[in-house]
């Protein structure tokens, strides 16, 4: 990040974050002074200073960076000697005070502070006896009680005003939610008003229109502002993580350094709340299964301390949260299985695969990852794992930055409207032919077969059969694709999605609910759930949508001819063209078939046949009120005009002469009468 991009907001966030690190440094130093220091104390100190150093540079506070760097140097030496001398506490505390002021924006203090710290902390990590005060640095002055008091005064009254009392207020989250509800309702109210003006018999005058338009703009801004209120930085859930990781590592006999970067990245609060547990899971997995024991690491030529990083960054309209470790990577067996199945995530999400041979008591990687995957998918995000044997594993959660505003396609099924996230709908296609594959209906989308499912059974809805399946939505989620059939695709709309709430927390299948322009509440479907659930609901689909499938099946042709060769030739031609075909040997048999099965769309008949000839069949069909309009094509060897005339009089819709017979003529006639396949 360049300094040009640093906004006042970002600096504010940095200051709030730095304040926590400073507090951390102080409490560690105090512990050290009290003789309660351990290797972990030094590490924690180091991390605090390191975090401040890194972020200070990013927001352009070079002085703060320089002081933090000097502190880090002292700590690094202490780390190497393996102990943090209590005598270091005072100089470090002084440097911390200077750092606090530099972070607050005070300039020109770094050189003196750095120099003073260096003078008081020689290279061997043990402070020199301070016989003579260092040069006229700020810190030197502090040592007289009088000046110390002044310094404290400044710290207490001056600097903290900027730092520890940020220009922000705490508001109960549900109040912000209520506010968002009220704003959204106002937006809907405005839309209704516009609608009424549009439908008014007399055009409203320009002044009114202008007011309405500016009202819309203002409301849009208001809505965005309120949505921003719900955004909180990742750091709001990370404060407990370093401690948790440290404890866990200790329990496992491992040494792990957790570094959190990009903690200022903002996400919708509701989303972040849900992700807290997922992030915890991933960190635990990394410590328990990723990072090796110190001895193992040493043998592999790695530092004894494992590096664990939690990193967040905005990525497009989304937010990526990555947990990266430099451990042993995923077991080869799982990798191979992942390559075979095309998804390492899916393999690891199933219980039974862990990256270590034995499963520790802390977390079977599989179970946890499955929960993480569900959690991420339930908010419309995705999960990716990247691993390199021996080098480490990186797990990335890609999340929408805000749950709230979502473009959805409103569809209807069983008289109820549902929203489907537009991002998950790759296309809406016209269904021409439904094929059965392994008892499951499928359709072809660009040469690829996709399972077709009725929306109703997937979500456990009781609805009448679909009258026909003419259009299907191709839905794509991280876990696969499927085609979903519903009654209608109504409109595309941007909606404010709200969670269903705790009382409906056990209901799965929905990202939440939203209010449409007309005030109706619709459920917003979870694409990943649809993909996951569809195969399980397939039995219900077969029963429920059987009628619908029939209606959209290929037209059925009845071929009537007494000659086997002719029958089979016609049958083969029509079959190849995609029609369903049944055959009969003469008029009588044909008539029986027509009565037995009412679903024929067209009859192709010979004229000369035993028992009942073609003309008699035609007459019988036309005389039957149920079938009088059934298209009939007459095929005969007789090419005389007289025959044509008789056929036409009997009600034939087309006439094909066998002598001139070619398959194109037959197909064209059928196509003209019942439609193409």
């Amino acid at each position: 990040m360049t300094a040009a991009e640093v906004t006042p907001d970002l600096i504010q966030i940095f200051r709030e974050e730095a304040a926590e690190h400073l507090d951390g440094i102080v409490s560690c130093l105090i512990a050290a002074e009290a003789g309660r220091a351990s290797g972990e104390t030094t590490d924690a100190l180091f991390r605090h200073a390191h975090s401040i150093k890194g972020s200070a540079g990013m927001v352009g506070l070079q002085e703060a960076g320089a002081i933090a760097n000097a502190i880090e140097d002292v700590l690094q030496r202490a780390r190497e000697t393996g102990a943090l001398s209590p005598l270091l506490t005072e100089p470090l505390l002084h440097a911390t005070d200077a750092l606090r002021r530099a972070i607050a924006g005070e300039r020109g203090i770094a050189p003196a502070a750095v120099k003073a710290l260096a003078a008081e902390t020689p290279a061997n990590g043990t402070p020199a006896e301070r016989e003579t005060p260092p040069e006229n640095g700020t810190l030197a002055e502090n040592r007289t009680p009088e000046h110390q008091a002044v310094e404290h005064h400044e710290v207490a009254l001056d600097t903290p005003r900027d730092m520890t009392r940020p220009r922000s207020i705490r508001v109960a989250a549900h109040k912000v939610d209520r506010m968002l509800d009220a704003v959204s309702e106002t937006v809907l109210h405005h839309r209704r008003l516009e609608h009424m003006l549009d439908g008014a018999p007399r055009r409203p005058d320009e002044a009114i229109e202008q007011e309405v338009n500016s009202g819309e703009r203002l409301l849009g801004e208001l809505q965005e502002t309120v949505l921003e209120l719900r955004m909180v930085p990742l750091s709001s859930i990370t404060s407990s993580l370093p401690r948790a990781v440290r404890d866990l590592a200790a329990a496992e006999g491992k040494q792990v350094d957790l570094v959190i970067t990009g903690a200022e990245t903002q996400l919708d609060r509701v989303l972040l709340d849900g992700m807290s547990e997922a992030i915890n899971h991933l960190l635990r997995n990394a410590v328990a299964h990723g990072i090796e024991l110190p001895d193992v690491r040493e043998r592999a030529g790695k530092p004894r301390r494992g590096a664990l990083e939690l990193h967040a960054e905005p990525r497009g309209g989304q937010v990526a949260i990555e947990v990266r470790d430099d451990g042993g990577g995923v077991a080869a067996a799982a990798l191979a299985e992942g390559a075979r199945r095309g998804s390492l995530v899916d393999v690891l999400a199933e219980a039974g695969f862990t990256t270590t041979e034995g499963v520790s008591e802390i977390a079977g990687r599989g179970v946890g990852l499955d929960a993480v995957k569900r959690q991420v998918e339930s908010v419309g995000g995705s999960l990716a794992i990247d691993t390199e044997p021996g080098r480490g594993t990186s797990t990335t959660l890609l999340l929408p930055a805000t749950l709230a505003l979502l473009r959805v396609l409103v569809v209807e099924r069983g008289g109820q409207r549902f929203g489907l996230p537009l991002a998950s709908v790759t296309e809406v296609i016209a269904v021409e032919q439904v094929m059965m594959l392994g008892g499951r209906p499928s359709i072809l989308v660009r040469e690829e077969s996709l399972p077709l499912s009725d929306l109703a059974p997937i979500i456990g809805m009781v609805a009448p059969d679909l009258p026909e399946i003419s259009r299907a939505l191709v839905v794509e989620a991280t876990n696969g694709r499927l085609a979903v059939a519903c009654e209608e695709v109504i409109v595309e709309q941007e909606v404010l999605v709200k969670p269903l709430g705790r009382s409906l927390a056990t209901v799965s299948g929905y990202l939440g609910a939203a209010i449409l322009g007309d005030g109706a509440v619709v459920l917003v479907l979870d694409p990943a759930y649809l993909v996951r659930q569809a195969p399980r609901a397939s039995a219900a689909i077969r029963v429920g949508a059987a009628a619908a499938l029939r209606a959209r099946q290929a037209p059925k042709v009845l071929v009537v001819d007494d000659q086997f060769t002719v029958r089979e030739l016609q049958r083969s031609i029509l079959r190849t063209a995609g029609y369903r075909v049944e055959v009969a040997c003469d008029g009588r048999e044909a008539l029986d078939a027509l009565v037995a099965k009412a679903d024929f769309d067209i009859v192709v008949t010979d004229l000369q046949m035993p028992e009942m000839d073609g003309l008699a069949l035609l007459g019988a069909i036309r005389a039957d009120p149920d079938r009088s309009s059934l298209p009939v094509i007459v095929v005969t060897s007789r090419g005389s005009d007289e025959d044509r005339k008789r056929g036409a009089q009997a009600g034939a819709d087309a006439y094909i002469v066998k002598d001139e017979f070619d398959q194109q003529a037959l197909l064209e006639a059928v196509k003209r009468l019942v439609g193409a396949q």
């Binding site: 009220a182 109703a456 809805m461 009781v462 705790r502 009382s503 409906l504 005030g519 509440v521």
Partner: protein, 131 residues
């Protein structure tokens, strides 16, 4: 507040009831338990509505017409009842009740009235919320 649910009468402390609204348009939630009537738009807030008869596991003879809007852990939840009878002090001798949803029962105007335990109601619609 005294309400009619199925052929029975129940009462609950009026301070638990934020408002009473007509059933209105309720969007069903496929896949949800039977006790969930659906979602109702209450001035821009999406509120889950539960059928009180189903929660109490009693027969409903008519259609629910009213919604009692209550609040449970900062989340609004509505219960559908046949009708609201009246609002007033609940006098009479309280008798202990064995039903898990009732605090007690009493006889009012010659009718047996169950006094609802609102916390227990919340508990049974969302067990994890009540604790």
């Amino acid at each position: 507040m005294r309400v009619q649910v199925g052929g029975e009468q129940y009462a609950l402390p009026v301070e638990h009831v934020h408002e009473v609204v007509d059933l209105g348009e309720v969007t069903p939630v496929p896949g949800a338990p039977d006790s969930v009537l659906g979602l109702r738009n209450l001035s821009g807030e999406i509120v889950p509505a539960f059928d009180l008869a189903r929660v109490l596991e009693i027969e409903r003879d008519g259609q629910a017409r009213r919604l009692l809007v209550t609040e449970c852990n900062a989340q609004r939840v509505a219960f559908a009842v046949d009708d609201v009878i009246n609002v007033g002090p609940l006098a009479g001798t309280m008798q202990e009740s064995e039903s898990r949803h009732l605090l007690a029962s009493t006889v009012l105007d010659g009718v047996l009235v169950g006094v609802l335990d609102v916390d227990a109601l919340f508990d049974s619609i969302a067990p994890e919320v009540g604790r």
